[in-house]
Symmetry: D2
């Protein structure tokens, strides 16, 4: 399953090159991921309340075309890999039919108090099954 999030580029997100600063895409991915996770029927806030966090283990990002202030981009999010320990999301930033940027983030499932890895299938099986069911290469 692919999920689409609309984001309007903010002025604060531009840099003196006149384009959206490269560090911003990770923030947009996250906003898109937040909406995507809601599809599972649980918000990320609720997940944290349950003592589960998903810190990043890896980020990759390709900058294909520059995005500008006030551009209304679409972030397309999907889950590309899921295991008991880790989940990987893929993203594409689209504008007028063009792919402006694409990337991925990998996340470990960890205990929010100890920051130690946890087995998501054991700790929260419904969430694991839901994510697995919407996975798409």
């Amino acid at each position: 399953m692919r999920y689409e999030t609309k984001i309007t580029a903010r002025y604060a997100e531009t840099d003196q090159m006149g384009i959206i600063h490269h560090s911003v895409y990770a923030v947009w991915y996250e906003a898109a991921r937040t909406e995507f996770i809601k599809i599972s029927g649980i918000t990320y806030s609720q997940l944290e309340a349950k003592g589960i966090m998903l810190p990043l283990t890896e980020l990759g990002c390709k900058y294909l075309l520059p995005v500008h202030y006030e551009d209304e981009v679409t972030i397309e999010t999907r889950i590309t890999r899921i295991s008991f320990a880790k989940v990987t999301f893929g993203y594409r930033v689209l504008l007028n039919g063009n792919v402006m940027n694409e990337g991925f983030t990998s996340h470990g499932f960890v205990d929010s108090k100890t920051f130690k890895p946890l087995n998501i299938k054991k700790v929260f099986p419904e969430f694991y099954e839901k994510l697995k069911s919407i996975r798409e290469d």
Copy 2:
């Protein structure tokens, strides 16, 4: 007492006007405040570990001259007011003898678990006395 912190303007902090974005000054004030608080002999991290937080209640900021990428500014910080409930810091951002920006932040002393106001003189008298002793209009 006035304390000086050096900061080099980052590229990510610029916007498409080619100047440092106005939201960044609050972040620089905070970096300067972190160093300033250390003078009291306790770091802000230790303060939080003691269950005390200083969330902002008010921010004021005047933009006098634009700051640019790679400019090495000096942030001059001082405490202008201190009570059992609240502390106010004043800031000036200097470059080559010019005041580029000036502002203030007010903070309440609160309990880090309940977010309720606390009396800093009761909870941590040494810290209160130290801040009071370095206050300067």
Copy 3:
């Protein structure tokens, strides 16, 4: 006239206090202002293309209640003052009927090449008249 913009608080906008960082409100004000200016029939991007910029001269911000990750706030924007040289916007951040934060930004009208003040009534009278007509104390 008052204009309402919806914003969902991002994870990247939180800090270790577990609340939205105080520097973020200036960014939200700006996103709200961008939408508000569009009402005048011209986007801020078009304004910059015409050689007009509105850098901040002053910012004021009061933090009344903390906003959290995934909160969907409403930013209410209005113009409180307008002259040939300057415009002031007022903002209120609302959540569930509560005012979480309120503030203002003042902006000078300047030439985008020289950064020198310009008389907006002379340079772009329709824009000036439009802003004036929607002003509200």
Copy 4:
């Protein structure tokens, strides 16, 4: 050649997990890159003034250990690849002898007006030769 930059983690850079937000590392890489480029005898600001920009084409980042507020990290920067069209920088974020994070950024050399690729060896041969001479796998 490897170059070391010291950075103190800012409060604004934390998130509600209590760690430095993952989008911040790209900003730290950039601050380190700015200092590294200065070694070549030319600042990045001067490079832009000459009509040359280095927008990112790719970013990769591995999060090995969490960094916290007030941590004083060292960013180790080097050039891993250089061609007429592109340069790649490698980074390691170190704290107390541990590698907390590592990554790379690739940049195209482009004309600052047209954003079109340019041949750095033709346009600014001394800069190209300097970067090449300090390259290290």
